[in-house]
């Protein structure tokens, strides 16, 4: 009662399922990423796994953001207080740094969020 085409269909399904789990439940989807926001709007979402340095154009000028060793930080920003730079490396899910004068903020999101929200 099973034709050869049936076997192909079952094989296709069995191959599809693991790839669905890997793609949708795997590391990339686990949310080891950071959102870079300009004025509260998400401008860029970056993975924390690949090291890179990004230049983000803000209201005052360019802020430089570095990703290294699963962490993210402000390297420099054209503001006066440098609160954002002093926030240092952000690693835990829910951590947040903002350069308010330049309207740029960075939020780390992970599968297991350490903080739901942070108030200053």
């Amino acid at each position: 009662m099973i034709t050869r085409a049936d076997i192909f269909a079952i094989a296709f399904a069995i191959l599809l399922l693991p790839s669905l789990y890997i793609n949708l439940w795997g590391e990339a989807a686990a949310g080891d990423s950071a959102a870079i926001l300009i004025g509260g709007e998400e401008y860029l979402r970056v993975s924390l796994t690949e090291d890179q340095t990004i230049t983000i154009p803000g209201k005052l000028g360019d802020s430089i953001i570095e990703i290294h060793n699963n962490s993210i930080r402000f390297v420099s920003s054209p503001c006066r207080g440098k609160q954002c730079v002093h926030s240092g490396w952000l690693k835990e899910g829910g951590e947040f740094a903002a350069c308010l004068p330049n309207r740029i903020s960075v939020a780390v999101s992970r599968a297991d969020m350490r903080y739901d929200t942070i108030n200053f």
């Binding site: 009662m1 085409a5 049936d6 079952i10 399904a13 599809l16 399922l17 669905l20 789990y21 439940w25």
Partner: protein, 194 residues
């Protein structure tokens, strides 16, 4: 795509209209054997659909889709167009009776049905020996789930997090697709024996 519905007067079936028939067409519908068969099978599918909706499900959104057993059986016995009639009538009438007509539930049900019918059409018209009940049922079940997710993402929940539900749901679709295919095989064997 032969079957004409019982709702349609005869002249719509493509023949030259006979003047006398047109006069009487308003009152008398000529129905074919196919019409009766589709109506009976659709009624059966609707009954199963409603019965199933009354059963509580341990996980929301997961149900066996036993009404699709009828769709696949009809596909195997009477072809794709009869199967699409039965399926679409089932979704329409089933939703009206349950009271979900034009609600999100209905939209998802319809999008799943349409997606599975499209895939079944392709599978039915592929060259070669073709699929058996299990193949059809499995493909239809997976297409149903994929179509629902697509429409759900497009209209109701446009958030990428929605797709994290897809792997377990697709697993259930594969399991129930194969199980339903086995049921169809048994059903057809019984029908042939009698």
């Amino acid at each position: 795509m032969t079957p004409s519905t019982s709702k349609r007067p005869k002249q719509a079936a493509g023949q030259t209209p006979d003047p006398i028939e047109i006069q009487s067409a308003a009152l008398i519908f000529k129905t074919t054997r196919d019409d009766h068969r589709i109506a009976w099978l659709a009624a059966l599918a609707i009954s199963i659909h409603i019965l199933e909706s009354a059963l509580p499900s341990p996980i929301p959104g997961i149900k066996p889709g036993l009404a699709n057993v009828i769709s696949i059986t009809v596909l195997m016995l009477y072809g794709w167009s009869a199967a699409s009639w039965v399926t679409l009538l089932r979704v329409l009438v089933g939703s009206i009776i349950i009271g979900t007509f034009l609600t999100p539930t209905f939209m998802l049900s319809l999008s799943g049905a349409v997606a599975s019918l499209i895939v079944l059409w392709i599978a039915y018209h592929l060259p070669g020996k073709g699929f058996g009940a299990i193949g059809y049922s499995l493909l239809a079940s997976m297409a149903h789930m994929a179509g629902q997710f697509f429409i759900a993402y497009l209209i109701f929940i446009p958030h990428p997090g929605l797709f994290r539900l897809l792997p377990p749901m697709m697993t259930m679709a594969v399991i129930f697709g194969i199980v339903n295919g086995i049921i169809v095989n048994t059903l057809i064997k019984r029908l042939n024996d009698t």
